[in-house]
């Protein structure tokens, strides 16, 4: 028995042995990688519901998986299952239905949706104006028992945990738009403290429905450049005007390196470091000095045992909102310095939109595939450079490069900043 592998801080190394992904570009790594590196967009005109009266009429929805009648937790669960099947299958770990570790899953906050409210109102109707008393009367008819389960916050996690046979109490989490990265961070921590030999980490989000779109729209967060749909998401461009909602899911199998080696698993890469820092400046805006984002970036690089000079590609949060992209560029320039002008950085969101709860996990898969293939997916729709953002955004066309260390950023409403560092080699 050789001595166990440890990182520079003396902790177990966290290897990646399985990846799965579903986005508007397709199901599975192969289709997604082909589309992402070809610069294809999954953004299209919304067909799931009528768009009359809306300022934004596009989204990168996942329409090839049917959750009929549409309901966010149902689609989110099905995408998570498919991403999980791909990742766990690739890892070849445990036995079917017997995954040897915990589940950490980022899920969109669930809520009853309008078709359900309407059905309850109808069932409880008494000829008067509808109030919540009407809905409660509808609920008491007993006809809607199965919806109760659908709208509990813990249901998707338990169903996914049962399907894969993960161990212990599965954790459903939300850190808004950094949730997917947080799910990976929780898995890394569990392996590092020796509590688990493996962890299944996921993010999923299939919540494009009228009210969710309108809520972001009312906060002026969404692009309104609806025509053509595939041109709307333009991270780092001067004419960027908001993000485009996207749907998707991704799953990452993390494993103690020694555990993976012992069973002869194929190692896809490593999660070397995680950084996290809260921002108390504002509910939706980040500190003007960028300090929390800077702390999260520095934290991840430090946790990885690297220096900023080691980072040779950044998988950006890059939402295409005026604020995010400016602040992200500022934060990166502060940490990587002058060198940042020549470090390639690209935003997958230019193609798959902002997959919200899933984004950090989706981008983790893309980051690891970048390392594995030596090909950096582009930032598409980059036609009008923003002179205030001096970055090499890998404009419009994929680029071949030898990428050893990737920094992946995730930032969210509520002051959430989570950054991860991936590599192909163990440190």
């Amino acid at each position: 028995m050789t001595s166990p592998h440890r990182d520079r801080a003396g902790r177990p190394l966290v290897a990646v042995t399985g990846l799965g992904i579903v986005t508007s570009l397709g199901e599975g790594k192969e289709d997604n990688w082909a589309a992402l590196t070809a610069g294809h967009s999954g953004v299209k005109r919304l067909s799931r519901f009528p768009v009359a009266g809306l300022k934004t009429t596009i989204a990168a929805t996942v329409d090839f998986i049917k959750a009929e009648p549409f309901c966010a937790p149902a689609l989110s669960q099905e995408m998570a299952m498919r991403a999980g099947v791909e990742a766990v299958g690739q890892a070849g770990i445990g036995a079917p239905g017997d995954f040897p570790g915990p589940l950490f899953i980022a899920v969109p906050p669930v809520e009853m949706e309008w078709p359900h409210r309407r059905a309850l109102a109808e069932a409880g109707a008494n000829g008067e104006d509808v109030t919540y008393a009407t809905l409660l009367a509808g609920a008491r008819t007993g006809k809607f028992r199965e919806w109760y389960e659908l709208f509990l916050f813990g249901t998707v996690a338990e169903n996914v945990a049962r399907r894969f046979g993960t161990k212990g109490s599965p954790i459903s989490l939300s850190t808004a738009c950094s949730s997917g990265a947080t799910s990976i961070q929780l898995g890394v921590e569990a392996i590092r403290r020796g509590e688990a030999q493996a962890a299944l980490c996921m993010g999923t989000d299939g919540s494009v429905h009228p009210e969710s779109l309108i809520r972001f729209s009312l906060l002026s967060a969404l692009s309104t450049q609806n025509d053509p749909p595939e041109g709307a998401s333009k991270p780092f461009s001067k004419n960027r005007d908001g993000f485009v909602m996207g749907e998707g899911a991704a799953a990452v199998v993390l494993e103690d390196y020694d555990h993976a080696l012992a069973r002869g698993a194929r190692i896809l890469g490593f999660v070397l470091g995680c950084g996290e820092k809260g921002d108390n400046f504002h509910r939706t805006r980040s500190s003007p000095d960028g300090a929390p984002a800077i702390a999260a970036i520095e934290g991840a690089i430090h946790d990885a045992g690297l220096s900023p000079d080691d980072i040779d590609y950044v998988n950006a949060h890059g939402t295409s909102t005026p604020e995010n992209d400016k602040m992200e560029a500022l934060g990166l320039a502060s940490v990587l310095g002058e060198r940042m002008k020549s470090v390639p950085i690209s935003s997958n969101k230019s193609m798959v939109g902002h997959t919200l709860t899933a984004a950090g996990a989706v981008e983790a898969v893309a980051s690891l595939m970048t390392i594995a293939t030596g090909r950096i997916p582009p930032t598409i729709n980059y036609n009008v450079p923003d002179p205030a953002i001096e970055l090499d955004v890998v404009p419009n066309v994929a680029r071949d490069a030898n990428v050893r260390y990737v920094l992946s950023n995730s930032f969210g409403f509520g002051g959430q900043n989570t950054c991860l560092v991936f590599s192909g080699e163990p440190g």
């Binding site: 009528p50 009359a52 009266g53 809306l54 300022k55 906050p109 809520e111 009853m112 409210r117 309407r118 309850l120 109102a121 104006d129 509808v130 919540y132 809905l135 409660l136 609920a139 008491r140 007993g142 028992r145 919806w147 109760y148 389960e149 709208f151 509990l152 916050f153 813990g154 996690a157 338990e158 212990g168 109490s169 954790i171 459903s172 989490l173 939300s174 850190t175 808004a176 929780l186 921590e189 590092r192 403290r193 009210e211 309108i214 809520r215 972001f216 729209s217 009312l218 906060l219 820092k277 809260g278 108390n280 400046f281 504002h282 509910r283 939706t284 409403f413 509520g414 002051g415 959430q416």
Partner: protein
């Protein structure tokens, strides 16, 4: 690394009062719980007492940005930070981590009602919905609904910025929030956490979820353990509970005093079937509470009253607790869902600190899924 962990501050608010001392007082006096039988009849709720929000949320602008569930949580979090002596300590708050157990926020009930009234009369209900939502929703309402915005508001109001994670999933979110905080401190991955959650029961939209599956107790008021024979059910309660959980070495170094030692937290989620809750609690008790001393011990149970599962918990406690006092927190402030388990731990810590007991076990059984147990002891 295997560090000792202390609870150095707790904050609570519920239908039983403001502050943990008021809760201990109510417990000691055996006060009858406050119940609102009318506002949501035939359902009952335990309504939160009047809360002096300005004491913890001084800026009116901050209060306006939040809905009730967030204000309750930010208030209780502030009390916990005060009690731990961390309030205003920008340097330590900048490193303090947070795990918050949360559901989602409330709705604009009037707007929902108007839309639902119009929908059947409209020729184009989908278009009408778009139009009404675009014009009638308050843009900031979303920020009062997002699950992670309780944590976000705690950051803004109290300056807790070490990192924050929000766990969802009803009762079990509260259990796992404490379990992960405990595990990370124990292993030296972090030094201190603010852990807790909040719940507003006085909301027809949350009653609606449980009413669909007939989980709400709608008969005459009865204590939690007396409901099973009549089909079971819970009475939701409004409130919040937060704990400051710290590595003992770190707390000692800053001169903080412990309320209690947090010895262990366990959680599990075996598939529910007859007997599974009892087996799960038994197994956790064996793992973390084997040496429990009933003669100087206390149990705080977060039992909801849900059919079957509460009866299983009752049978385990009857066998395990011996002569120890057993308090059903639902009889004090109702079922607060996400913060139910943190609230039990807060009460246990406070009771230990008063010297009432030496040893405490806290249980949490989700009405639908998940079980948890915590073990605490008195620090001499």
């Amino acid at each position: 690394m295997d560090r000792e962990i202390w609870i150095t501050g707790v904050g609570m608010v519920s239908s039983a009062g403001v502050g943990v001392a008021a809760h201990l007082e109510a417990l000691k006096n055996g006060d009858a719980p406050r119940v609102d039988n009318d506002s949501f009849a035939p359902y009952r709720v335990h309504p939160v007492v009047a809360v002096p929000f300005e004491q913890q949320i001084p800026k009116k602008a901050d209060q306006r940005q939040m809905e009730a569930w967030q204000k309750l949580g930010v208030f209780a979090a502030g009390m916990a930070l005060d009690a731990a002596g961390l309030k205003g300590d920008a340097e330590r708050l900048g490193r303090l981590e947070m795990i918050v157990a949360a559901g989602g926020g409330e709705r604009d009930y009037a707007v929902d009602g108007q839309i639902l009234t119009q929908a059947p009369l409209s020729e184009h209900p989908a278009e009408m919905l778009n139009e009404r939502l675009m014009s009638d929703i308050r843009p900031t309402m979303f920020l009062a609904q997002l699950s992670n915005l309780l944590a976000g508001n705690i950051s803004i109001v109290h300056g807790v910025t070490g990192g924050s994670r929000t766990f969802m999933g009803e009762e079990q979110a509260g259990v796992d929030a404490l379990r992960i905080a405990e595990a990370r401190i124990r292993a030296g991955q972090a030094d201190a956490f603010l852990v807790g959650g909040s719940y507003n029961a006085e909301r027809p939209d949350v009653l609606l979820i449980y009413a669909m599956a007939d989980y709400l107790w709608a008969r005459d008021y009865a204590p939690v353990m007396e409901r099973d024979a009549h089909g079971g059910g819970f009475i939701l309660g409004s409130g919040a509970a937060f704990l400051v959980v710290e590595a003992a070495d770190v707390a000692r170094a800053r001169g903080a005093k412990p309320l209690a030692r947090l010895d262990a937290v366990a959680s599990d989620m075996p598939a529910r079937k007859s007997g599974s809750v009892a087996a799960s609690l038994d197994s956790m008790w064996d793992r973390i509470a084997k040496g429990f001393n009933p003669s100087r011990g206390v149990v705080f149970s977060g039992a909801s009253g849900a059919a079957g599962v509460t009866a299983e918990e009752q049978s385990v406690l009857a066998q395990r607790a011996g002569e120890a006092a057993v308090h059903i927190t639902g009889d004090l402030f109702g079922h607060m869902v996400e913060p139910q388990f943190p609230a039990g731990v807060a009460l246990a810590a406070a009771a230990l600190s008063e010297g009432w007991y030496d040893d405490a076990v806290v249980t949490g059984v989700g009405h639908r899924r998940g079980e948890g147990t915590a073990r605490l002891s008195r620090v001499d």
